[in-house]
Symmetry: C2
Subunit: 211 residues, 2 copies
């Protein structure tokens, strides 16, 4: 008997299968939520039997927790990149663009987190109150510096971050609605370009420092 998930997997095949399962779980969890997904669905999506999947993970919760933990860093990377060096407007435009690219290229990850938060974040609330809050507090200070030096308009940095989160993730989380409203002609791939142009203008003009 190996020790399974207790410590790092040993064999190469365990690494690969665990990765395969996590990829399948991302697909299933992001589409149906935690309660709406079944272990069997994940197993089928991973191309293996349910007992086989449970040989690599202790259970449904374990898969979800591993997935969430592994993806959090990736998800927060764009905000981490926001830095004090360079022009504030360029920094903010870059952040918005990166977030929008993530909504376009990783919509499943976005929906996975959205599902979790919507349900009250029962599994990652400590992470939000700890790691995420510290990161945001840090970036809020950066923005306050920009405001003090008059390089962006004086406004609430927290709600500015919320607004960027909301507008960008909207295109991943509410993709169906966006497509439905835009219709077949405007709902194609170009919608992300249109969104990028609009959001950059909105935030740049909206944050232009007053004379």
């Amino acid at each position: 008997m190996t020790q399974k998930t207790a410590s790092r997997p040993r064999t190469r095949i365990q690494q690969e299968k665990r990765e395969l399962i996590l990829e399948a779980a991302l697909e299933v969890f992001s589409a149906h939520g935690f309660r709406g997904s079944t272990v069997d669905q994940i197993a089928v999506a991973a191309g293996m039997s349910k007992p086989n999947l449970l040989y690599y993970f202790k259970g449904k919760e374990d898969i979800h927790a591993t997935l969430m933990q592994r993806l959090l860093d990736t998800w927060l990377a764009p905000l981490r990149e926001l830095d004090d060096i360079g022009d504030p407007m360029t920094e903010l435009r870059g952040y918005i663009r990166r977030k929008l690219e993530m909504a376009r290229d990783y919509p499943r990850e976005s929906r996975l987190f959205a599902n979790e938060i919507l349900q009250g974040a029962p599994r990652i609330l400590p992470l939000l109150q700890g790691e995420l809050k510290r990161l945001v507090d840090d970036k809020v200070e950066v923005m306050r510096g920009w405001m003090r030096s008059g390089r962006i308009a004086r406004t609430d940095p927290w709600h500015l971050i919320f607004a960027i989160w909301a507008t960008t993730q909207h295109y991943a989380d509410f993709d169906v609605q966006v497509r439905a409203v835009l219709g077949p002609d405007r709902g194609g791939e170009g919608r992300f370009e249109d969104a990028a142009r609009f959001l950059e203008t909105l935030f740049v003009e909206g944050l232009r420092p007053k004379a």
Copy 2:
């Protein structure tokens, strides 16, 4: 045997009980999603037994469908009110304020719809493509008029609407995250006032027509 849900309920007690069940279902569905909620939970929340609840509704799907249908009009009311009369900026500020008030006063309704859309809107996709799209198309034309007459900046009306939806509903759908990030001191009731001030400034400045 009465005809239950086939046509409108006849007795006064049926009206009341159906309303009671829908209120309980809103509470449960918005907190756990459709798949995550059980008929028993709804029955308990409504203060009755499961078979008794099933006497008033054909089944779980029936409750959800009735709830969704009944709430859609309420949910779209703020957008319907957006009108061509009066100052465009005042109209838009009013719309943002109304949407934010709905996020504050009716967070369960917001989460109910968010859950549905997140799962791919399996039950209301036709409504989005029909009723909602027509309404948005209509308001887009109103905004285009404002842009042609130079009263707001020329920009993409569709994505403007998306941005207003996203930023306002964010405070209902991602409430846990907002509270966690703001912390105990700033996460109190005042957060909606702060959000309103920020969003009004962002959109008014962001849409100010260029000279």
